[in-house]
Amino acid sequence: MNTALPAINLYAVMPQIVLVSAATVVLIIGLFERFRKGIPYLSLLLLAVAGVFALNQLGRGPIAFSDTSPMMVMDDFSLVATLVFIAGAVLTVLISISYVEARSIDRGEYYALLIYAVSGMSMMAASTDLFTFFLGLEVLSISLYVLIGFEQRDAGSNEGALKYFLLGAFASGFILYGMALLYGASGSTEYEAIARTLGEERSDAVNLLLLGGLGLLLVGIGFKISMVPFHAWTPDVYQGAPTPVAAFLSTGSKAAAFVVLIRLLGSVFPGLQMEWIPLISVLAVLTIGVGNIVALVQTNLKRLLAYSSIAHAGYMLLPLMAVSPDSQDGSASIVFYLIVYTAMNLGAFGVLAVLAARGIPCATLDDLAGLGSRRPLVAAVMAVVMFSLAGIPPTAGFMAKFYLFSALVYGGYVELAVIGLLFSGVSLYYYLRVVVCMYMRPAAEVPAEPAGRLSYSGMTALCLSALAILAVGVFPSELLQLAERAVMTLP
């Protein structure tokens, strides 16, 4: 018998292997009741291990999974993305601890699923083949379906899970169908092969297949990043999901889809630029517009944040157009924005999660009245996050917006930059309403609230994200360089 193993390099998928093993370990240990309290800390530890590993590999050049059929690659881009996902997961775990305890859903599976989701995201980021992309996507999606519905006794949580599941299944269907078309056109599922087909002379039929394939992929990915018109699920799901899960959903899963989008549009489909640039620009402007305008009238905080996250997805779509072979500014600015956005949104949802864990009402804007004097530290974090989301210096949000819109202007899209900037002016209204409620409205009619400290772990996460936002806002150089280096290895 001669079963020669294909020449593969397992080392190239080490980050994913570490993450999957970590999740499995957490899952198994979570079965033992007596270790229940320790599970989150074990998760943090294992996530940190994965993070250290990824950090260690940074800058060592790309390593392909296999020379003959690449499938996955460990390059700076995927490593930086993985690091962002891990950081997001760490913060999510920190804000989860008190929340899931308060809701009596503190089971080991919760943290295991979270880490599985991260491994899926990391797979998506590293994929150089449609198969591995889909694999990662499904690992992520299935974990999220369960996580969203984790509060079994809560109707909203169930509703959200079902909605996300149904629409997610459709999105997966679209993506699969698109993949089939691309395979039909190029005879391969590898990104490189598809890119090669695009570079050659091709018949009209092949062209149609490629276009159709790309279009269907965009629909599926558009669902994940809640791009208009595929955004309708977002507010309901965010509102229903356990708050830390909503935080994770709005940052991690969105970031993962964006990472794939950068790789696909930047390296695989530049040949179809003439076709997708107008499409994306229209959709991006629509996304920004709908997100920002509908957010203006929201009174529920989670829905407000949901629409704000739709708007931010729109901003991040814009520089995709500026991605060209001779300038990496566009993709670098998206990576930078994603990092900052992760910190901001986790901070915002984190505040809600930490308050909710203590039983302090924080569902609507009115609930926040007087928070500035009731809970000064949390309110300060929220204010920082809101100013950052609105893009006011000296916060990271400003730097991110500045870099993003610069890339757009340098790419020659001044009009789009102006539209984006004006809408970000609109967004100030609803972000500031939160600040107004916290600081400028007396907490007269607020019922006596539960006393006691907020959870230390949650506050650690909040302070970390607020400090990160301010630090990056003042000294963005290092992070900018990281983002630039991440996209440097992209073909």
């Binding site: 100030l428 500031l432 600040v435």
Partner: protein, 548 residues
Amino acid sequence: MTELPYLSLIIWLPVLGAVLLLFVKGDTAARWVGFGVSALVLVLFAVCFGAFKAHLGEPQFVERMPWIESLGVSYHIGADGISILLAGITALMWPLALLGTWTIVSERVRAYQVFMLLMETTLMGVFFSLDLFLFFLFWEGMLIPMYFLIGIWGYENSARAALKFFLFAVFGSLLMLAAVITLAFLHHQAHDVLTFEIAALYQLSIPPEVQFWLALAFIAAFAVKVPMVPFHTWLPDAIVLAVVLVKMAAYGFIRLTLPLFPDALTELAPLMCAVAAAGIVYGALIALAQSDIRRMIAYSTISHAGFVVLGVFALNQHGIQGAVVHIVSLALSTGGLFLAAMMLVQRRNTWDMEAYGGLWHTIPVFSAFLLVFTLASVGLPGLSSFVGEFLILVGVFQRNILIAAVAATGIILAAVYMLRMYRKVVFGPVTKEENRGIRDLSFRETAVLACMTLFIIWIGVYPNPFLRTMEASVQKLLVQTHRLAESPPAGMTQVSIEPMPADPNGPGDPVAPGDPAAPGDPAAPDGLTGPNGPAGPDATPDTSQDTR
């Protein structure tokens, strides 16, 4: 001079103070920290001002460090004659304002001091930035402390006012941000270097039609904050900070709009002048109809801001110098007026003019100070506003007689509404019983107002030190502004040879600006000796030190 980074210290010291405040317990301690830090900034500034060489016209005390290299941004600060004057009035006003509102602000004192200090930082940053990105950062960052100051310590409807102000301001700034990015991009295209250096951007030659749009974007940002009609509607609700904003926005006009977009100005300047003149009259007319002191001051500020803009867009030496002097004097006169009014309202709790009357009999010291500020706002010769308004009108007169004439009516109207207010509040018999037992100014309040009065008189009587400080810088700016403009009479030479109209009101004679060797200009640069004597008989040692 030692090599201390003075400007950085001036900029960042208040931030340190704000951090320190987080660890301070108790209102009084917080007040002292806030006042102490801002006083320290004033001392530092005084040292800096003493070493400033006015004849150079170049930015001095320059500090430069790479900051965000991949974006071409550097931490580059320096002060020229214009910025040092505006920074100076800020440094002076801050301890005075904190001292003046010592007891007026009685809620959340610590947070108030923190935000005031943060605002001082951003203001100084705006004045000293030599990098456009840095400028924008401070410019936009200022909104945060300002927003809280208006929203928390403002008067009725303040939360709404804060939001309104913020939205107005941000829309303007965002347009400017787009223009800033475009400028850097154009520079990159032309020279293959990504930079936000203001001096480098000055050298760009931009196609006129592009300039037009960029200039409009910048003007939008500044016009909102000046505030120019029709972007003024936030002001009456948020008057507290109006004076500060006028300063910043006018500086933005002078530093950026003029030299960056010379071609666009040939089209835009007349328009801006016309709008400014309309604003002067509009603000004055509305002020005439107010019975609420605060709203009257607000509208008078709109009117005065019109003068400043008018002076800037006269695009000549007199106009710009006048504008800068007027900004400084506005800070003193309107700031003083408002501070005095706040002191009064603290005692009686109403802004309605009709509620007062006969104060001269009950609180003479207060009434005397109010008189000074009122007359200064009216533009009485010998007080600060006169110098600014006169220079501005001289500048505009060379451009357009009609607009100058319209603007001049603003001064007349100012006399009407200001004196009407004064008459209602101070003169006549005491009609309301509540006004009888009213306390006169305390020592602290007297000291604050006296200090401002001193400067008002000094600038009014002997403005030369101030004019000379910025003269070279303004000239340099004008050379820059007129480099491409086609109209020859607007050149730099015109400034020094043009005939000066005789000024019948001797003391305020601004002959000096065009000619450093004019008679009446003492050889010694020390403005404290000689002519200043009669102006400030009660000049205490510490105030004279501050101004050097």
